[in-house]
Subunit: 690 residues, 2 copies
């Protein structure tokens, strides 16, 4: 009956994992072939730790390509892996260059107006946006491994930096300190990004799930859009806060201080005592109709061009060229009507010249250092997530690899260098990268071309932006962020996975109503709780045999699967951990009770054996082992046998080490449910049991 | 070839889950029986939510016994489930009572000295310890469902309360406020425990894993033992802190203030300027040799009796009676030598009489409320964990059920009532429950007997404790907590699961060196990170066929398992979540690359198909679905087919909803690896491929 064979592989010959076969002949009747369950090859604790560390930190096996190479080749490969430019630089030719010039100029026409706009979103001087479109792309071209990433400031990171810093420091009252903090945050963002890459902790950004990001981006886009109402409606005094409620009250309730002051004066003179409540009734809004008209015109133009390009990707250049064209036209208009009206506010003087060094502005001590570090880490994570996601998207379209950890180092060094050359946080922008890809970019040279165009602008063209109206910058931002509200993705989440949709909503409303970092934290917390909940309350299901086969499947799903009299076959669909060991033990006992009630009702064969299919139990800890042991003890008191089927390698090893296998007895462990049923049935028959 | 059959069950007949069988006949050669993969029965989102909520909050199906009952029976069952005393009270007889009296008196002889000692551990007046051994056991006898739990103050909760409260409020300088905070904390502990039970959140205490508790208890026991050095060595001035370092420095460096002052005076007079460093050289320790001698004598007696009882459980009464006997003897000794020496400090006057009401001392506002709530929650969790664990242990020995959530409510109400009657936090004590069990307790009446003995003590015997020396209380605590250091359990953790051992050490050193709440938080954090790490970096393994069978098993474990030419069979051992979707995708592509390198090396058959065994993939989310989709797209670019095998119910449903199954094509989904291999091979043969 197979009991004579030692069914657990002997530990003394650990690598000789042959599945010893025992043929069970019970009373000369049935012949059942029984396979033993192997222990995995023996490893020391150190080997296991090494494998585990390699799995966690080096899943891509980065040193593999260096094996079996000469030293010279290794140096070349090392240089190539540090500076990807060496990989493609050697066979770069004129044809590739032609494509890159076209795409580089196209993204430059987007990057210049967007740079100026996004800097304003971060409450920084517009010129900083252009500086940030010059140095970082050059550095990325040398270090980065994506061929299509268009590097520069992006809306989300700009928004978050602006909102977090201006909560503590006013960009208008304390502009120098604000600028210092912005550069310092950028430095810490870079440092954090580079360290994540160096320490190979890149997997941490995986915890920002797709669902979290969809909600977060949409929430941030709504806030940015609302903020643009300031520029779009020509309001002068506006809240510095980022939440929905203060912004909306800014739009509808704020008047200029002058008029407020005036009202108080008037009331005071009338009644000889100030009536502060009186100006609650006043509804004079401080909107400028000229600005609104201009804004609406250009907004409809930009949205139309965006719509056209989305419909026909070949016409990408329409939406790519539209922002620069709008800037030029609107600047001309304002220039022409400058003597007639002053209602439309414009940028004004911008300094000419290249990035000034800013390393002396980094701020490593003092009261605001904690704020700078916090802002740096959050903008760092967000810009990294965007950069990596965009890089991976286009790499997958063209079927090449973007290495996450290396990309993090590239983005990190780019930001650290940027913080010393008057740049703020930059990363790969989704919209510009898409344009870059569609315009036929072939290598990172398109970033160099773009940087050169920005260089020319910085050196010679800055005075041309004097009359550029602020409203056009608001319109450019609006058009860019409206595309970030991905309601279709949210709808798909709702359809496929309600819990993911819930995470998405948490992150959306958290960002909109609470704050950017807290909203993100809530969404990550909810996603982690989902994982923990799945582990805490795992699924168990009863299996039955599909007649005529050796297949055992869930009775709930497969109608023709049928119970085997005398057996209760349960599958546990989760690792058995401290968090679920008590639950699983109780749940299995409940299955047993329910099965016995059913048996009484239908007068079926008495239950004799519980088979636990452990195929999906991918890990077990000491609490889990204790639960299995306790379960066996309690079932034994009810004269029921417990049998384990197909524990995976690590589980098998721990069962062995904790002596549970010995306590289960020889017939307590099988490789498949079918073999367990066959062997146990034949044993019972041989013993004359029904 | 089975392609003609619709292999995914039609959604329109969701409950008709018959595994449609298709017989594949490829070129008249092979006959392969193919089973289709079923979708689980269709359920609305609400039904799913309901099932999920029931799984999480009502895993024990508490209303099951009320079904199919008359209203009268339901009322009786309801009363019985609220007050378990009604369940066993009706058939209680003299024989049971006799057992309960014996065990009740035995635990009373332990409870009285321990009550006084533990109250001192919590920096409370000794009498509060006796009060706490009177009211709570009576309440538990009515509400509790364990038959063997001996209720009263316990060492860990007393220690934690003492350490947390005395960090902010001095028990000697502000005794009334301290007492108020102790009762308030007890109230919040009870409230928290009862709410956990009422809201059925009992599973939260499962997050304190066995490993965490072993480390925590040992750390707390070390601290308590060190604290007892004060009593044992007769030191007068001692630190109020609980960490290792301040306690050790208290033992070896502190002298009485008088001598310090004296030394400074001396130095000052000598040199005319204070030399503060000078008294670092002085080693006059403030130990009292009489106390040390007495302590050592009784310590060795108590440890010996404990050792005897552990060796022979029948002699449990020796260790049970020893503490009371020691108290009596030592009190007599001190009484007799009271005129000769005052070196041995004793308890002094204790008030006579029953528990005074203390509801007027509860403190629901003011500066220390947050501290009281925090202390309440932490002592609440700890005492709950101990109570439930002890209850379950003895219930499992006698094979009856202790309902976690109901037990939480019982302990919670007991503490809330206690806080109004001058009691501090109580729960089921492990040592006293073990004695209770060994002394033959049959029902909770033993608690009533114990409470009556405490009542008699409170009313008549209090003056007898006047000369009880403090050193004997220290010895009793020491003996009790030394048993809590379970080094064997720690060694077993080390042997079976290194990570659990690490958790255990985190909790041990966290409690010892940092603080009780932080140490616990660190250990829980580490345990949760372990779960997340397992999900973030799941195991994947390559499977092969065991010749002559339809069994596919890990190539690493089963030596005779062999690869099937043209196939790469991979098993994923984890749910596919946002946290691991990128990793899994990359890891599977790496498996493919490595397999292709191997094939090149050995000139084997070209790889044509990747089979993903999804049996252990117990869940999938939208990021996971996207990863599968993307994986399929990338494999297709390399002309490789992706086939999924045996996805479980929920995974199958989501694959269906997200249209991935359609995109996989008809031959992209199989029930077993064997069927997939057979069907695909025959298809290739029919198409004339090698």
């Amino acid at each position: 009956m197979g009991h004579g064979t030692n069914r657990v592989e002997d530990m003394s010959s650990p690598n000789n994992g042959t599945a010893a076969t025992a043929t069970a002949t019970a009373g000369g009747e049935t012949i059942v072939e029984i396979h033993s369950v192997c222990l995995p090859p023996k490893k020391t604790a150190f080997q296991k730790l090494k494998k585990r560390v390699a799995d966690v930190f080096f899943p891509d096996d980065p040193l593999q390509r260096f094996r079996n190479q000469t030293w010279r080749n290794r140096v070349i490969l090392g240089l190539q892996s540090l500076f990807p430019i060496f990989t493609w630089g050697s066979h770069y030719d004129l044809k590739l260059f032609r494509s890159d010039v076209v795409s580089g100029l196209t993204i430059a026409s987007l990057a210049i107006p967007q740079g100026i706009s996004y800097a304003k979103l971060a409450n920084l001087p517009p010129i900083v946006g252009l500086y940030s479109s010059f140095v970082p792309p050059l550095i990325y071209a040398v270090l980065g491994s994506s061929k299509h990433l268009a590097v520069g400031p992006v809306s989300i990171a700009s928004l978050v930096m602006g909102s977090m810093l201006s909560e503590s420091v006013s960009p208008t009252q304390d502009p120098i300190l604000y600028l210092q903090l912005a550069f310092t945050s950028t430095f810490f963002a870079g440092l954090f990004q580079a360290s994540l890459g160096l320490l190979r902790l890149g997997f941490l950004i995986d915890f920002l799930s797709k669902a979290t990001l969809v909600g977060f981006t949409a929430g941030a886009a709504v806030i940015v859009s609302l903020q643009q109402l300031k520029g779009l409606l020509g309001i002068v005094h506006f809240t510095g806060k980022m939440q929905f409620i203060p912004v909306m009250s800014s739009v509808f309730n704020h008047r200029s201080e002058v008029s407020q002051h005036h009202l108080i004066e008037v009331n005071y003179n009338k009644s000889k005592q100030p009536r502060f409540f009186s100006y609650n009734n006043v509804t004079i809004l401080q909107w400028s109709w000229e600005t609104i008209v201009m804004g609406m015109c250009f907004l409809s133009i930009l949205l139309t061009t965006r719509h056209i390009s989305m419909r026909k990707p070949k016409l990408f250049w329409i939406s790519a060229a539209a922002p620069l064209a709008s800037v030029i036209i609107s600047t001309l208009v304002v220039f022409l009507i400058r003597s007639k009206t002053h209602a439309i506010s414009y940028i004004g003087h911008l300094p000419k010249g290249l990035n000034p060094p800013s390393s002396n502005m980094l701020y490593f001590s003092g009261a605001h250092l904690a704020l700078a570090i916090k802002t740096g880490i959050i903008t760092g994570i967000l810009s990294l997530t965007e950069g990596i996601a965009v890089g991976r998207t286009f790499a997958s379209l063209k079927n090449y690899q973007v290495n996450g950890n290396k990309e993090m180092m590239a983005i990190g060094f780019m930001n650290m260098a940027g913080s010393c050359t008057s740049c703020y946080v930059t990363t790969g922008s989704f919209s510009r990268s898409a344009v870059n890809y569609n315009a036929g970019a072939k290598t990172a040279v398109s970033n160099i071309v773009m940087a050169s165009a920005v260089l020319v602008t910085l050196l010679f063209l800055m005075p041309l932006f004097y009359y550029t109206p602020n409203v056009i910058l608001a319109v450019i931002i609006l058009t860019a962020v409206i595309g970030l509200i991905d309601y279709q993705a949210a709808y798909k989440l709702w359809k496929v996975d309600k819990f993911d949709f819930f995470t998405c909503m948490c992150s959306f409303f958290g960002v909109l109503l609470v704050s950017v970092p807290l909203g993100l934290a809530i969404a990550v917390g909810v996603s982690v709780i989902k994982i923990l909940l799945h582990v805490t309350r795992p699924n168990t299901s009863e299996f039955g045999n599909i007649p005529g086969t050796q297949i055992y499947q869930s009775l709930g799903r497969y109608r023709e699967a049928s119970r085997i009299p005398g057996f209760l076959i349960l599958a546990v669909e989760s690792p058995i951990y401290f968090a679920n060991s008590t639950y699983l033990q109780e749940r299995i006992l409940r299955w047993t009770r329910e099965e016995e009630t059913r048996i009484k009702e239908f007068n079926a064969t008495t239950l004799k054996c519980i088979i636990l299919d452990m195929t999906a139990v991918s890990a077990i800890d000491t609490s889990g082992l204790e639960a299995v042991f306790e379960l066996r003890r309690r079932l034994e008191k009810q004269s029921l046998q417990l049998v384990l089927v197909n524990p995976v390698g690590t589980v098998m090893e721990k069962l062995h080490k904790s002596k549970i296998i010995e306590s289960l007895g020889l017939s307590g462990l099988y490789l498949t449910v079918g073999e367990a049923v066959a062997d146990l049935s034949s044993t019972w028959k041989a013993n004359g049991q029904p």
